[in-house]
């Protein structure tokens, strides 16, 4: 099942929910509405000839207008790769948890919550685990974050 059959297969089966983003790269990237996330993710994992059972990574991106959560999937049996992203509003980003589909997402989502402030609905244990316990200076990975002792590297004067 090469990349282009994957594209047509996705277009035919998940056409309405997964809209392809043309980024000119050979790995297909899709966009997904937040409310379809759990249902499409379960379908992608259980589909017979897709079998995306390996969640590589969930990356959160803070483009100053909105938040994106990017899911990178892979299939251990079918040698396939797929990425899709979910767009969220900037003021109070919220997303469903995919823990019951891929339990491996637990810590990825916890990190997203802790460093970006993206609230994860029905996540079993949303507590702080990377930053010191008495951390109170907000969400450090956001673009607009700053702190008194945060020293930025000066620009090289070329």
């Amino acid at each position: 099942m090469t990349r282009d059959d994957l594209k047509d297969y996705i277009a035919s089966h998940f056409g309405d929910k997964l809209t392809a983003l043309d980024t000119g790269r050979y790995d297909p990237l899709y966009e997904l509405k937040a409310e379809h996330l759990v249902e499409v993710a379960r379908a992608l994992r259980d589909d017979e000839n897709l079998k995306f059972d390996f969640l590589c990574n969930i990356g959160a991106v803070d483009t100053t207008e909105h938040f994106e959560a990017v899911y990178n999937l892979a299939s251990t049996t079918k040698r396939l790769r797929l990425d899709f992203k979910v767009i969220m509003s900037h003021d109070n980003p919220e997303i469903d948890s995919v823990i019951d589909i891929w339990p491996g997402a637990n810590w990825h989502e916890r990190e997203m919550w802790e460093l970006f402030g993206i609230n994860i609905r029905n996540h079993p244990n949303l507590t702080r685990f990377l930053l010191p316990d008495e951390w109170d200076q907000g969400f450090p990975m956001r673009k607009d974050w700053d702190a008194p002792d945060f020293i930025r590297m000066p620009e090289p004067e070329t």
Partner: protein, 177 residues
């Protein structure tokens, strides 16, 4: 105060006692210098270099330094690797648990001034001497095993020159200052 400390105080009173104290001082500081048992404490990349220095090519044991697992029995702590803000209180507690004549080697750039993580990092403690008094700084990221050995020999020279009871003033002054 270990009981051996009180000997020079009385020896001074008897005539010609000062010869005894100086030789005793030299022997005691020589003893402290030659058998430095270091604590197994490595956080980041410098820990791998610490392991390589303990291995067969550059051997620590030649200098009489063996690793001890518990802070109670070790008298040298080699801070090998980045100390983050979450790790700082633990390092301070480890240092407090060590028995009194204790020394610290700050190994690697991260322990001196934050090293490569000085700019743009919100979670790294910039320099270990904010937390514990440091005796020898070893630059390098990670420093080569030879420079670590050179640092240890440097510390041994420093201990040999120390007077008795010197290390009391150092820790007291550090905590008040």
């Amino acid at each position: 105060m270990a009981l051996i400390e009180k000997v020079p105080v009385y020896a001074e009173k008897i005539p010609g006692g000062s010869i005894v104290t100086t030789t005793l001082e030299r022997v005691l500081s020589y003893g402290r210098a030659t058998s430095l048992w270091y604590l197994l404490f490595g956080t980041a990349c410098c820990a791998i270099e610490l392991m390589c220095t303990g291995a067969s090519r550059y051997d620590f044991d030649r200098l009489g330094m063996i690793f001890r697992a518990s802070p109670r029995q070790s008298d040298l702590i080699i801070v090998a690797g980045t100390i983050t803000k979450k790790m700082a209180p633990r390092l301070r507690r480890l240092y407090d648990q060590m028995a009194e004549p204790r020394y610290v080697i700050a190994m690697g750039g991260c322990t001196i001034k934050g090293g490569p993580f000085y700019y743009d990092s919100y979670a790294v403690e910039k320099g270990v001497d904010h937390i514990i008094p440091v005796d020898v700084h070893i630059p390098g990221c990670p420093p080569r095993p030879e420079s670590l050995l050179e640092g240890c020999i440097h510390l041994q020279e420093k201990i040999k020159k120390q007077k008795l009871g010197d290390w009391h003033k150092k820790v007291r002054s550090y905590d008040q200052g």
